[in-house]
């Protein structure tokens, strides 16, 4: 990066979300609902950071981030549901009992323990990403092929999760939890706590990604994006790097999903359908790919708009969103952050670089 970021803006951002909003809630200005809504947006922003790493920096358009997000959510949901079931003195979650399942499926067993749940929530997406990544990257599938195949993969997983036989609640997903680690999920203080944790994790994830992208590792990623063959002739094992960043992105998505679940109270396969997986990429495209701040702002802004527009303009919010997508891609190549950047450059009257266009 050419100029160093002034810490003041980070401080402003943190102050706004870590102090102002909670203070607003505590003093009665904001409802607890607003707090948990923003908490959920932070989870999306965490996942968006992962997408920015893999797409913005490495140039691999992965459409299965929504699936990793769901894996995280499902893991925590399984734990919460088991806790609730055990507390109610039952062996099986309600929906399984109704489906006439006799014993708890083996893959549910480890989720009795919170520790194991956390580990598995991270391990399973990582492993999945590793295997899929290995298969795809090894055979040098990239660009459009990569996008379509990962999209198809997500579709396949979506279909599997929709099945009742998968024992993950089918279309209805998993819902109706009451406590997490003994704290009541419906209490306002727990909601505030989750909000704060999400924000803290978002900040941590941001700085981790910042470190990654500014290290030589990050430069290799950008080099892969710019010219994959060149970097492999320079003796970098492209597959290793791609795999690593794919796993990291999957982990970020999973972490986002893990925090998302207790704040939303439901996870369904709907979170990973085609629409959801394209939208996730859209956050980053709108915010500005290849720019971590853009990813975070994109995720927060798009979801905020979504919430507001569905209440204010139920008939036309799809138009608003659609036009936003088209216009961003057409005119603001680098998204929201790119737009700001170019305005700044124009104002500063420095040499203004036009975006590269073919034709």
């Amino acid at each position: 990066m050419r100029t160093k970021t002034n810490p003041l803006y980070y401080i402003l951002f943190i102050a706004f979300f870590a102090i102002l909003l909670p203070a607003g809630y505590l003093s009665g200005f904001l409802s607890v609902n607003t707090i948990s809504v923003w908490g959920r947006y932070f989870c999306f922003a965490i996942a968006a950071l992962g997408i920015d790493l893999i797409w913005g920096y490495t140039g691999i358009l992965s459409m299965c981030q929504a699936f990793f997000f769901c894996l995280g959510s499902y893991g925590i949901a399984m734990h919460l549901l088991l806790k609730k079931t055990v507390a109610a003195g039952a062996v099986l979650p309600d929906f399984m009992a109704w489906n006439k399942i006799e014993t708890l499926p083996f893959f549910w067993q480890p989720f009795h323990s919170f520790g194991w749940s956390l580990v598995l929530c991270l391990l399973i997406p990582a492993l999945f990403a590793f295997v899929v990544g290995f298969v795809l990257f090894r055979s040098r599938i990239k660009g459009v092929y990569m996008a379509i195949i990962t999209q198809a993969l997500t579709l396949a997983m979506w279909l599997i999760f929709l099945r009742n036989e998968t024992n993950l609640g089918g279309t209805n997903g998993l819902t109706d939890f009451n406590t997490i680690l003994g704290y009541n999920l419906s209490s306002s203080s727990v909601k505030l706590g989750l909000y704060m944790i999400s924000f803290a994790v978002l900040c941590a994830a941001y700085f981790a990604c910042y470190y990654i992208t500014h290290s030589k590792f990050g430069k290799v990623l950008q080099a892969i994006r710019d010219s994959e063959s060149r970097i492999s002739y320079a003796a970098y094992k492209v597959v290793d790097y791609k795999l690593a960043v794919f796993v990291v992105a999957a982990l970020l998505a999973a972490v986002g999903g893990m925090l998302y679940l207790p704040q939303t109270g439901i996870i369904t396969p709907g979170r990973m359908d085609v629409k959801a997986s394209v939208e996730m990429v859209m956050w980053v495209a709108l915010g500005g790919r290849g720019n971590l701040k853009g990813a975070v702002l994109g995720a927060l802004l798009v979801n905020f708009l979504y919430s507001i527009c569905t209440s204010l303009f139920p008939d036309s919010w799809l138009f608003i969103l659609g036009f936003l997508f088209v216009i961003t891609v057409l005119y603001f190549d680098k998204g929201f952050m790119g737009l700001v950047e170019s305005i700044r450059q124009r104002l500063a009257n420095t040499r203004f670089k036009t975006p590269q266009t073919t034709l």
């Binding site: 279909l159 929709l162 819902t175 802004l301």
Partner: protein
């Protein structure tokens, strides 16, 4: 970069101020509402139906029905002297958004009751919200049962109010005396549970296991060639019928393929549980004619109450300039969405309050003359006793009523066939309890 971030600041602040202003608004309203609950002339209800996304096609009609009921009640002077003010939001067929909007309605808007949801998953999504915030949801669509929430008033059918009579009818002499059953559905919880209950029922009636086939297709499945071939083979050697819980846009390819492979309602009738008049509007009915559907209400019901209701609904849609205008039709969920509002209003009048617990208590055993005739709330739980009807699809998308239950059928949220030990009772027990 540092200056770039500066540029974001105005936007950020803009967003923040928008956020604050909207929240301030709502909190101001909130304060106003609680202060003036007795002095102001309105009472708020929430309407939580998808107005966009995949479910919009079905759910928009329910919003219209609720709106019509509200207008009628308001025209008659409202409830407890107050005008009803509906707060309409769009959960956009997004299940997570359902929960978010439910919270918004209950916590921010402080509505007295919510009328909404269609799919099971949307109901399951908002259920914890209603239970935690002591809300009341009127749910108008037939559902899979096995639920007994204190926060939901189920005006739609329980499985025994739709499935069992239909199967019984098909097995009867009059219905054709069918001996083989193909249970075909879209893969989600309602078909799964429905088929579980149907299967238990059929087995209990002595239908051998090999004469019952269960199969599921994904949502939006379009290619029914293989399945129809299977059906053909299944139906070849005896009296077979299909019990269909196929949902939404899969129905048209299903019925078309069925007809084109040479099957018909005479050789193998399809009894549908998810096809009503409103869906038939968007289908080429040619291939559906003669097939059956089981509901609690059909538009062709010739009660005078219903004739008025149908005429009013058409007039309402035409007057409001809604798509379809006076060509709109009524169907089962529309009828129960409409009835739900009246039930709530009547209960509130009876209780003399809008308080959720009082309204709920007033609802037990409450009866109301709906478009479908007199219906009655269960004395012990939150379901509705109502008649069951079976109809044959006509070319104009209406139903010929060919069977009607004698009197009202009591709801059984827990089917005695699959959960013989459970029952739902909020008067003597605390919801679901174990029967001795």
């Amino acid at each position: 970069m540092r200056n770039a971030f500066l540029k974001h600041l105005p936007i950020l602040l803009l967003g923040a101020s928008a956020l604050f202003s909207s929240c301030n608004n709502s909190s101001a309203k909130k304060a106003g509402a609680s202060d003036s609950a007795t002095t102001k002339e309105t009472v708020k209800i929430g309407v939580l139906h998808s107005l966009s996304g995949t479910m919009a096609i079905s759910e928009v009609s329910l919003r219209d029905a609720v709106q019509m009921a509200v207008d009628e009640i308001n025209a008659k002077g409202g409830v407890l002297g107050k005008q009803i003010e509906p707060v309409i939001v769009d959960p956009a067929s997004d299940w997570d958004l359902f929960a978010e909007k439910a919270k918004e309605l209950l916590i921010d808007k402080k509505v007295s009751a919510v009328f909404g949801c269609w799919t099971s998953v949307s109901r399951k999504s908002v259920l914890p919200v209603f239970e935690q915030n002591n809300g009341l949801l009127f749910y108008p669509v037939q559902y899979e049962g096995e639920e007994c929430s204190n926060s939901v008033i189920y005006t739609g059918a329980t499985p025994n109010q739709q499935l069992i009579p239909a199967a019984e009818y098909l097995m009867s002499e009059k219905g054709g005396g069918y001996k083989k059953f193909y249970l075909l559905g879209t893969d989600y919880v309602f078909p799964r549970t429905a088929n579980k209950i149907l299967k238990a029922y059929l087995l209990s009636k002595g239908i051998p296991k090999e004469n019952i086939i269960e199969e599921y297709t994904p949502f939006h499945h379009q290619d029914y060639q293989t399945i129809i071939s299977k059906v053909k083979r299944f139906a070849a050697d005896g009296k077979a019928c299909i019990l269909s819980t196929i949902n939404g846009d899969s129905n048209v390819p299903f019925y078309k393929e069925f007809a084109n492979q040479g099957l018909s309602s005479a050789t193998c009738p399809i009894m549908a549980f998810s096809v009503a008049e409103d869906e038939l509007r968007s289908m080429d009915t040619e291939f559906l004619v003669g097939h059956l559907a089981a509901w609690n209400y059909f538009q062709s019901n010739d009660l005078p109450e219903n004739k008025k209701f149908v005429a009013d609904f058409k007039a309402f849609c035409a007057k409001k300039g809604l798509p379809g205008g006076d060509k709109r039709v009524t169907d089962d969920p529309i009828c129960w969405a409409y009835t739900g509002v009246y039930l709530w209003a009547k209960a509130a009048e009876k209780a003399g309050s809008f308080e959720v617990s009082k309204v709920r208590n007033a609802l037990y055993s409450l009866d109301f003359t709906s478009p479908d005739g007199l219906v009655k709330m269960d004395p012990r739980n939150h379901h509705l006793a109502k008649p069951v009807v079976i109809g044959e699809i006509k070319p104009d998308g209406q139903f010929d009523i060919i069977w009607k239950s004698e009197g009202l059928v009591d709801p059984q949220p827990w089917s005695p066939l699959t959960s013989p030990d459970k029952d739902c009772d909020w008067v003597n027990h605390n919801g679901t309890y174990a029967k001795k």
